[in-house]
Symmetry: C2
Subunit: 404 residues, 2 copies
Amino acid sequence: MALVVQKFGGTSVADAERIRAVADHVARSRRQGQQVVVVVSAMGKETDELIHLAGQVSQTRPGREMDMLLTAGERKAMALLCMALHDLGVPADSFTGSQAGIITDTFHERAKILEIKADRLRECLAADKVPVVAGFQGVSTERDVTTLGRGGSDTTAVALAAALNADAMEKYSDVPGVFSADPRLVPGARRLPHVSYDEMLEIAATGSGVIAFRAVEFARNHSVPMHVRSSFTWEPGTWIREEDPTMEQPIISAVTHDTSEAKVTVAGVPDQPGIAARLFRSLADKSVNLDMIVQNVSLHGTTDISFTVPKSDLDIALEVCRSHADEIAADDVLADSQIAKVSLVGAGMKTNPGVGARMFETLADAGINIEMISTSPIRITCVVRAEQVELAVQVLHRAFELEG
Amino acid sequence: MALVVQKFGGTSVADAERIRAVADHVARSRRQGQQVVVVVSAMGKETDELIHLAGQVSQTRPGREMDMLLTAGERKAMALLCMALHDLGVPADSFTGSQAGIITDTFHERAKILEIKADRLRECLAADKVPVVAGFQGVSTERDVTTLGRGGSDTTAVALAAALNADAMEKYSDVPGVFSADPRLVPGARRLPHVSYDEMLEIAATGSGVIAFRAVEFARNHSVPMHVRSSFTWEPGTWIREEDPTMEQPIISAVTHDTSEAKVTVAGVPDQPGIAARLFRSLADKSVNLDMIVQNVSLHGTTDISFTVPKSDLDIALEVCRSHADEIAADDVLADSQIAKVSLVGAGMKTNPGVGARMFETLADAGINIEMISTSPIRITCVVRAEQVELAVQVLHRAFELEG
């Protein structure tokens, strides 16, 4: 019998009616002969509301207590879903992260899964019941409650699928799949029936919030096939799995974009070994997440170093750079938050030269200036002005013939 | 150093401001040289809201899942209180019932505490931190989350005080103590500085909701002194502890009343051994909580059996009695929900004859008819018409000179 882990996000369990709809779907999956393990997020915006409440109570937010607070959310969702399943005659038991045997390290609010001791879930399945597991949470090796941080529930679901040797992890949300571009920008954007893990990693890294990067990484490392689909239409969505080497790959799968970053330029840095290293070590020590890093060709013994950071990290990044400006003899430190990234992703790019050239020409023809470029074997990313990113996505989607 | 367990009810932690006020009080207690363990209930009306949510989702409410749902409430309150304590520089860690080592039997929604393995709380205290424990919840011998049912958080606090050998359990709520009568009915009602465990048991059993009967019972059995006081004024309230045999006892401590019960009469029952036993066994099998039971003197070979039950149990009680009417040859089964109980409670009653007579005379003088009577060594209860109970409380409070 096929075993699937079905993961339902906050919008899918936002109210009593939606929870009953999820229960119906789980019951239908069982009638179709599947064994089902369910992973749920907190209902609707509850996690945000709890964070707001914490802000009202306290200036300090100790991680241990934030985790205790936030894990109340999934608890409610999973208990209610079990009740709705019982109503349909489907036996179901809820499990906290701890009860499900999700053992993590001790880093609160961003714990990593170390091990899954899924004995209780296996017993539950063997008794022909549906285990309903709280996403996003675990228990540390010190026996404290932990949360997994961003994308935590997706990661829970993938990790359980790996531990239980499930046939697939199905992610249900209000997003019906992975698209060739954001349908809000490109009305002709096409749902992709399948993408490879590597493509999905690039898509997740360059702008699409459809599934968390770390969950895709976990799925790739453990070869867990994922199916991203809608909990409103219940129609098939996008499969994420190993590349099929017998099939010809499309050159480009998707155009993605991201407006959440800002650019920092450290100008006039002496072109000597170790300068960049000193700067980036200091940024890393402050947990600043660098993304693209570009260092210009040295012309007169000095160079400019530019990088992008999440806008939320911009202030701290500037502080670090300015405090080092004298030490590294930089002329100036400049910030620019009016930028956006546009990327082309496609596994077929590896074997197709000329994709970059066509991308740059297309942008130039549309009057869009490119400020930074970075590449991977299956991705090319350009930084452009924020106000031109919509146009950039549209012209690239057309130029690479991604319409359905 | 004195160790106290401070228990805060829902109104005491209803919002961010109240939670910060509780944190202030805990910090002050520590500055005064006390070690503090805190037990919290869910915020405000949250438990009621969760029950309502369950009703919207499902017709069936499996106990295991109700317990998972409801325990989300204290989790939020305790995490937020810990954050508020951290803000004040008071180190504090929250503990679920499971983490606090509160081991229960497996009866969901009404679990009983079997054992407390308080090692983690002791470690927390030894590290000079404040353990903040979720009231109302535990973990069963089957490793499932359980709740303790009515009065659960009071019971948690008393049980922890016993396990940790604390000097006292302090119960904070919007009720400032135990009164000689309900101040809403009797403006001159007096706060009692102390009552004995036995008096408190009778007061709790006959109408005052100030502290749960089972918590008082637990406190008496383990000799845990309790202090019932206000979390709004923080003034001293009522101490509940062993009777002090060197002190003269007041004859009467309090007049209590209760309008939550109904009366059932099984009329014309043959006065033969075993008839009542058969009826009450069937009622017990249906978990009907009988309170007062009165059997009239037999006049013509038949008798009437009357008893009171919570109004919520009335329908099932009537069903049981009517289904047995033929078998026990009863003439009729009658229900009356327009009754109320009024009680006098006082440890000094034991050694003072004539209290009953004065009670009955006082009620008669006020034109109040008595329908049933039951007594214990330190209590006399009369059933009267519901519309006369306010008057009954007032005339008794005056007759026994209970004003401050």
